[in-house]
């Protein structure tokens, strides 16, 4: 039995992997039934070829690669309705974030980003990741999807635009908003508390 095939008989390992995959899929699909389906499909696909993989790390990255494709298929199926709807309720320009900026488009003092102290050290703290995930979940669906595909899956702009049928400008607007929202959330709920 190869090391990867061995992974699939290790129940604790498998449960842990499944949980990570589900979290990953749920953040992007925003639909627990669709996320369960994608994870299930990816795991079944992985089992078929488990013998080809030498170790746990290789197996894991491969399972996530399959899951990524399942998610993109799932998004592609409904991207036009969801992404377009989100974009329409999200007008371009600073008025969307007017609560952060004054009329001259400068930061309002109470919303100005603070200097984050020792971020590497914060990332060692399990509680930080709980807050981080809450902040990701608070993002509007279109922003979260663009941001996850860009920064978590690591697709480049051209690929994301193609998958989500967005213009480059629209994508950049979504990513900018995601960065503003996430910083605001982490700033208020974690870094300013420290």
């Amino acid at each position: 039995m190869s090391a990867a095939a061995h992974c699939l008989t290790d129940n604790a390992y498998l449960a842990d992997l499944r949980r990570q995959m589900l979290k990953f899929a749920l953040l992007q699909l925003r639909d627990s039934a669709a996320a369960e389906d994608a994870v299930q499909d990816a795991l079944i696909g992985a089992m078929k070829n488990a013998d080809r993989f030498a170790g746990k790390a290789a197996f894991k990255s491969w399972v996530f690669a399959i899951l990524k494709h399942k998610i993109i298929d799932g998004i592609r199926g409904k991207s036009r309705t969801i992404a377009v709807a989100d974009l329409q309720t999200d007008p371009d320009g600073p008025e969307d974030f007017s609560f952060l900026f004054d009329e001259a488009e400068h930061w309002k003092a109470e919303h100005a980003p603070s200097k984050w102290r020792n971020p590497e050290q914060q990332m060692q703290n399990g509680q930080f990741w709980v807050v981080f995930e809450v902040c990701l979940n608070k993002l509007p669906a279109a922003q979260a999807r663009c941001f996850m595909m860009r920064e978590f899956i690591g697709l480049d702009s051209a690929e994301i635009c193609k998958e989500l049928a967005l213009t480059t400008t629209n994508l950049h607007v979504q990513l900018h908003r995601a960065r503003l929202s996430l910083q605001k959330c982490l700033d208020g709920n974690w870094f300013k508390e420290k």
Binding site: H106, W107, L171, R179
Partner: protein, 58 residues
């Protein structure tokens, strides 16, 4: 002089593509004077690192 809002747009854009010379010039002269936008720039980098770490969390 660039507004803070526009500075944050350019900072975000710099994660997606290399900025043009004129964009860099405008952003850097803003950042020289604006510590809040420097925080936003540094925090954006931290955010990218955190996203890369996020998958490794149990």
């Amino acid at each position: 002089m660039l507004s803070c809002y526009k500075a944050t747009v350019l900072i975000s854009l710099s994660h997606e593509r290399p900025l043009a010379f004129s964009e860099k010039l405008a952003l850097n002269s803003h950042l020289l004077l604006c510590s809040v936008c420097r925080n936003f720039r540094d925090n954006s980098k931290t955010l990218s690192k955190a996203m890369a770490e996020f998958n490794k969390q149990p």
